[in-house]
């Protein structure tokens, strides 16, 4: 017993102490399962830089860790509204695009987006839309409006997203308002609509909704476009539509925080991710839409031409990107709690 203890303690001390300290270390912070694994080792081999790859669950979790300052990340891949907040709070470093020549491959429509108007801080990584995924075998009609989710005849066949902004956002869209609305009147209407809808909802889900749709547990679900495509692949009875009232257009982009220790290497990494072959491999593995023009060309025709995965700009006229709500988020939270606590 004592001997075992001693051995364990020695092992632990050795393991803690051991770490090769001659390479540069790059700290990358990304969503879980959001990169082709081998891309990381390819980068390490090519540039002789060690990559510490960490993952986060939500933008908010990442934000807390970044703000608290206990860890230094070099590259982070957050979502649109969070990037806006980080820019406003002066948490990001301006990118030196001289070091990111591969930026030229990003489609023009994805440059100078709302949350980074002069495109100084971010390079898009993946993008998509939010829409309705529905089962054509279980639903006879063609769905094209958010109001379908409020239809009595689909009671207990509806899956909503357990996310304040997404659910309240699409309700606002359904009512004809902006999904970034800060108007109390509009928010009250959205709240009433969602409370009305609650008895019809089977569940408020996060990612488990996808498996449910594939299994045919429900007829309609609010999903992100990339997930929709993966679902359709598994169950061809499903199809995806962006409702006519408009929807949310989302982006996950690569940024460099101000307190990054290895800015040059970080820019090197971003540039590497924008190489055609790398972007293609990521898009292929993840299954979401890539903003990289050449990478899209390499994808199989059925995917690149699938307007559900890669909608043409005309379909996106009514779509908005989330902006940071500031203190109005507390109103959203209060509304959401009221809805959920019914």
């Amino acid at each position: 017993m004592k001997r075992l203890l001693a051995i364990v303690l020695v092992l632990v001390t050795i393991l803690i102490g051991c770490s090769p300290k001659n390479q540069t270390v790059l700290n990358v912070y990304n969503w879980g399962d959001y990169i082709d694994e081998k891309v990381i080792s390819d980068f390490e081999k090519k540039y002789n830089i060690k990559v510490n790859y960490e993952t986060f669950t939500t933008n908010e979790d990442m934000y807390i860790k970044l703000k608290a300052g206990g860890s230094h990340y070099d590259v982070i891949i957050p979502s649109d509204y969070m990037i806006k907040r980080m820019i406003d709070e002066d948490l990001l470093a301006k990118l030196d695009f001289e070091n990111i020549p591969n930026y030229k491959y990003i489609a023009d429509q994805f440059k100078n987006l709302d949350f980074d108007p002069d495109n100084e801080y971010s390079v898009p990584y993946m993008w998509g839309t939010v829409g309705i995924l529905y089962n054509t075998k279980m639903i006879q009609e063609k769905i094209d409006s958010w109001t379908a989710l409020w239809d009595q005849k689909y009671s207990k066949q509806i899956l909503m997203l357990d996310s304040q902004r997404d659910s309240i956002g699409i309700t606002l869209k359904m009512l004809g308002y902006s999904l970034n609305s800060k108007d109390t009147n509009e928010l009250e209407q959205a709240k009433k609509a969602l409370i009305e809808q609650k008895p019809l909802v089977l569940a408020y889900v996060v990612d488990e909704g996808k498996d449910k749709m594939i299994a045919g547990e429900a007829a309609l679900a609010v999903v992100w476009s990339g997930d929709a495509i993966n679902c359709i692949r598994e169950n061809p009875d499903l199809t995806y539509v962006i409702p006519k009232e408009g929807s949310n257009l989302w982006f996950d982009s690569m940024v460099i925080p101000k307190n990054a220790r290895n800015k040059k290497e970080a820019e090197l990494f971003i540039n590497f991710m924008c190489e055609t072959d790398i972007a293609y491999r990521n898009a292929d593995y993840i299954g979401y839409a890539s903003p990289h023009t050449e990478a899209v060309k390499k994808l199989p025709k059925e995917i690149a031409n699938d307007h559900r995965a890669y909608p043409p700009m005309e379909e996106l006229t009514n779509c908005e990107v989330f902006v940071d709500l500031g203190s109005v988020i507390k109103e959203f939270d209060r509304i959401w709690t009221e809805i959920k606590a019914q």
């Binding site: 908010e60 304040q164 089977l202 408020y204 889900v205 996060v206 488990e208 939270d333 959920k340 606590a341």
Partner: protein
């Protein structure tokens, strides 16, 4: 055994890691950060006592209490039976009991989704026998099931380890004096096992009240519990003050409950305080 010094390293550690963070919690719950001013205020607590939040609190405590009772009712007999089994299998059984807990919490809860769904495994079996489908998911039943599932080893283990060392001769003496098994249990075994029972209740009720993953996944997000609320405040809304206030209320409620139970224990066992 004047060995109180043994507790000193621990007390020091706890002072640093528990008391100071608690201090932060109390600080946050009583202040507001409007710009540069931090003013002392009761607003967060006042806000918490609005009906909508109280409803959530009540629901959380009720569900946690039900789960704890079920854990006790199922767990105590299990601990007794395991205690009575032959020596060589005991340790294996105990490890087998804990083994499922080493599979990630989220994964196990996802697996319950597959089991409880409309077209899930349990319902498919029922249909195969010719029975009707049951609504096993997205209701309070599912949440309680999830809680019991995740916390029952925490109830069984302490009770088991205490039962293990109850002096056989006491039980034999009771039997000699003419007591039947039921009376022996009520008057001898149960009171002696009380420290273990109380440990078990503590280790189940607390996390059950503050859990949030179970209610989200198995309750379909329909059932908001205190844990969800607190998590939302800290992560989504960034309102650490309100989140801290809620946590503080929770802690006070539970400490009061614990005060009652330890008083009860004192009366039962006589001598020795907590």
């Amino acid at each position: 055994m004047r060995k109180t010094w043994l507790a000193y390293p621990y007390t020091l550690w706890m002072l640093l890691f528990t008391v100071i963070p608690m201090g932060l919690l109390i600080y946050f719950s009583f202040t507001t950060n409007s710009g540069t001013n931090t003013a002392l205020t009761w607003t967060h607590f006042q806000r918490f006592f609005e009906p909508i939040y109280l409803k959530v609190l009540l629901r959380s405590i009720t569900l946690a209490a039900i789960s704890t009772v079920i854990c006790l009712l199922i767990g105590y007999p299990a601990a007794m039976i395991l205690n009575g089994s032959s020596l060589k299998y005991k340790n294996t059984m105990i490890t087998l009991l804990v083994l499922p807990m080493w599979m990630n919490f989220l994964l196990r809860t996802y697996a319950w989704l597959t089991l409880l769904e409309r077209k899930g495994i349990i319902n498919s079996l029922l249909v195969a026998i010719g029975l009707n489908r049951l609504d096993l998911l997205y209701n309070e039943f599912a949440v309680i099931l999830g809680m019991v599932y995740n916390f029952i080893p925490f109830m069984i283990l302490p009770i088991y380890s205490v039962l293990n060392k109850i002096d056989r001769s006491l039980i034999e003496a009771a039997e000699d004096l003419g007591a039947n098994p039921v009376i022996t249990f009520i008057k001898v075994i149960f009171p002696l096992s009380l420290p273990g029972v109380l440990s078990g209740i503590t280790m189940v009720f607390m996390p059950a009240v503050t859990t949030f993953v179970i209610s989200r996944l198995l309750g379909g997000g329909q059932i908001t519990l205190i844990g969800d609320l607190i998590e939302q405040q800290f992560l989504l809304v960034g309102d650490w003050n309100f989140g801290s206030a809620i946590s503080l209320v929770m802690i006070v409620i539970i400490l009061i409950t614990m005060g009652f139970t330890s008083k009860y224990e004192r009366e039962q066992t006589g001598g020795g305080l907590w």
